[in-house]
């Protein structure tokens, strides 16, 4: 009997704990996330009449998106640029995370700090700094001319997709480093020893044991970099020039200059679905390759 009372209390405690654990997430997701999601989906099937929520119900927005080649083109361009950014960011960040996880020793927290420090300055300011680097009379051109690699300054660095990739790869550095670092850190040392023992040189150990086991982190990093990049509009606008116009700018413009919220929402829904598809495909591919994500 007594026992029963005890376990009942424990049962309640579990319930309370679970309730407590669910509450913050539930409030945030069910109120904030669902509201935003609902609004964008709702708007996307409305007809623009310049009012807050549009009028009627129609799939016309989607018809427009799928019939005008421009949108496909811009989405493709966005995916390409975001893909490149993700690739560049993750590939560049991985060795740093690796170093942090396995080699940094007592310097680990210092380097972690150094890695995040630049991001305390405003993003806009950093973009400006990149402009100074890439500009006509900028650092890069000066270096090229000083080293004799080029005779006259190039205007080709700024306002190109390459500039966007560079700037974003810089901007998202900690977002790639930290998740990969967290994943690498959890790999038992004995796995690497086992691989080495079986004759795997460091690179093979890396490729066949460390990399697959860090894939959860790499994927997290990729998602955290890729997804917001696809929808970014500030960076392309500031440093990318017209050839870098991404889907985010179009969405943004529909909500601003063009004042067609329903169409903007439809574009947003479309992008979300495309990104979701990309992420799911990548995750599936990763499963096929046997990762344990």
């Amino acid at each position: 009997m007594n026992n029963e009372g005890v376990s009942l209390r424990a049962f309640d405690r579990t319930r309370i704990f679970r309730g407590f654990m669910l509450t913050p997430g539930a409030i945030v997701t069910l109120v904030l996330v669902l509201f935003a999601l609902f609004l964008v989906v709702f708007l996307s099937v409305r007809v623009n009449d310049d009012s807050l929520l549009g009028a009627g119900v129609s799939l016309q927005n989607f018809v427009t998106i799928f019939t005008e080649p421009l949108y496909g083109l811009v989405v493709l361009r966005s995916l390409t640029i975001a893909g490149l950014v993700t690739l560049a960011t993750v590939v560049a960040a991985y060795p740093v995370a690796y170093y942090l996880a396995f080699h940094a020793g007592p310097r680990r927290s210092l380097i972690l700090f150094l890695v995040t420090l630049p991001f305390w300055t405003s993003y806009l300011l950093r973009v400006f700094a990149w402009k100074i680097v890439l500009a006509y009379n900028g650092v890069l051109n000066s270096v090229l001319m000083l080293t004799g690699l080029s005779a006259e300054p190039s205007t080709l660095f700024l306002n190109t997709p390459a500039a966007v990739v560079l700037t974003l790869a810089h901007a998202y550095a900690p977002f790639a480093i930290l998740p990969i670092f967290v994943a690498l850190e959890t790999i038992p040392k004995s796995l690497m020893e086992a691989a080495s023992d079986l004759g795997a040189r460091p690179f093979t150990t890396f490729r066949r044991v460390i990399l697959p086991n860090s894939m959860p982190g790499v994927l997290s990093a990729a998602v955290v970099v890729f997804v917001p990049t696809v929808g970014d509009y500030v960076t392309p606008a500031m440093i990318g020039g017209p050839t870098s116009t991404m889907i985010g700018s179009l969405v943004q413009a529909q909500f601003g200059k063009a004042n067609d919220w329903p169409f903007g929402a439809a574009l947003a829904v479309m992008v979300m679905l495309v990104i979701l598809a990309v992420v799911l495909i990548v995750r599936q591919a990763d499963r096929l390759f046997g990762s344990r994500t």
Partner: protein
């Protein structure tokens, strides 16, 4: 430098941070094709020894030679050595087959050949039907066998085994021992195995290294180790021996007569010792060499039964003699008194002809 040694550890020491001594001046040379076992209490440095040989730990001092060449600076992957890890260290992202085939795949062995050898290795460890399973879904013993297959398949010059059979039942274990021994003979591989199972060490090894407190106590063949342990520690560790403080009473050409209190012990001298009557010594008396009886006989001593433990073929009996010596005896179940019980009073004598190691006092 012994030229016939395949592997040599020269004055190898390993100090961990925090002042912990993992290995203290280990000297060891292992011949090609030898089956060497490391035996010793928990924490004595067995795993550390293997790790130093495999190349996972750099010795703080000393060097490791393979074929006479100093391999101390070589990395693990450059040493023709494979390891079965105490905690298995299976790759969680690979299937059983991928784990086992990993080493081969590094050696650019054709896929078909690889498949064949993986299947054969898994067959050997009795896991042919688990070939495509995830390693997480395996039981403890199954994991251990996968680890074994993974290391063996590479046919290294030296195979290091860290308690490779500890999770297996006696049956499977004996089977695996036979397999290991066969493999070792067939491939001519040198095996260095850590085990905590004395019988296993005695039955499978060419030589046994007994370690204690980061150092080597004795290196010898199983029978020498068993019959002539160099130290009381070894005697105690190998045979669950009773260590009896005795005095030499008399000696003739072939027999030494010792006494411990009223218990008299006749031990074949084997040309042994230069003990003189009256000298003290320590005698290692094995449990199976102790006879018990309900009747007093000459040279026997009375004792009370402290506890009786069923061991299957025998009963392990803990006794306290009238001289307050604690003794452990293994009594065959068929022998009399068949049903010994705690608290009974009996008489103890030494089995005639029992060869008891005489140890430095």
């Amino acid at each position: 430098m012994a030229t016939d040694a395949l592997l040599r550890l020269d004055s190898v020491s390993k100090h961990f941070s925090g002042g912990i001594v993992g290995l203290n001046n280990i000297n060891l040379s292992i011949a090609e094709g030898e089956f060497l076992s490391l035996l010793g209490p928990s924490g004595c440095g067995k795993t550390t020894t293997l790790r130093v040989i495999a190349g996972f730990e750099a010795p703080t001092e000393g060097e490791i030679r393979l074929d006479g060449k100093d391999i101390t600076p070589l990395r693990a992957f450059d040493r023709p050595v494979n390891t079965v890890f105490q905690d298995y260290a299976l790759f969680p992202h690979m299937s059983v087959a991928e784990n086992v085939g990993f080493g081969l795949s590094l050696r650019k062995i054709a896929a078909s050949e690889r498949r064949k050898r993986v299947a054969a290795a898994l067959d050997m460890v009795g896991l042919a039907d688990k070939i495509n399973q995830r390693v997480q879904a395996l039981s403890g013993g199954q994991r251990q066998r996968v680890a074994l297959a993974r290391a063996i398949i590479c046919e290294p010059r030296v195979l290091l085994l860290d308690e490779p059979l500890s999770a297996l039942d006696a049956h499977l274990r004996e089977q695996m021992q036979v397999e290991l021994k066969r493999l070792q003979r067939e491939l001519g591989t040198t095996f260095v195995m850590v085990t905590h199972d004395q019988t296993e060490a005695l039955s499978i090894s060419d030589r046994i290294v007994v370690m204690n407190k980061a150092a080597i106590e004795q290196i010898a063949s199983p029978s020498v180790l068993y019959d002539r342990p160099a130290t009381a520690f070894v005697a105690g560790f190998i045979g669950t021996s009773n260590l009896l403080k005795v005095r030499l009473v008399s000696r003739d050409a072939s027999v030494l007569r010792f006494a411990a209190g009223t218990l008299s012990l006749d031990v074949p001298s084997n040309g042994n010792t230069d003990l003189q009557p009256g000298d003290g010594a320590t005698l290692g008396v094995r449990p199976e060499d102790i006879l018990v009886s309900y009747e007093r006989a000459e040279g026997s001593v009375g004792a009370s039964v402290e506890s009786v433990v069923f061991h299957g073929r025998s009963l392990r009996v803990h006794l306290l003699t009238e001289d307050k010596d604690s003794l452990t005896a293994d009594i065959p179940r068929q022998a009399e008194p068949a049903a010994m019980a705690t608290g009974e009073h009996i008489f103890v004598s030494l089995r005639p002809g029992a060869s008891c190691p005489i140890l430095p006092s």
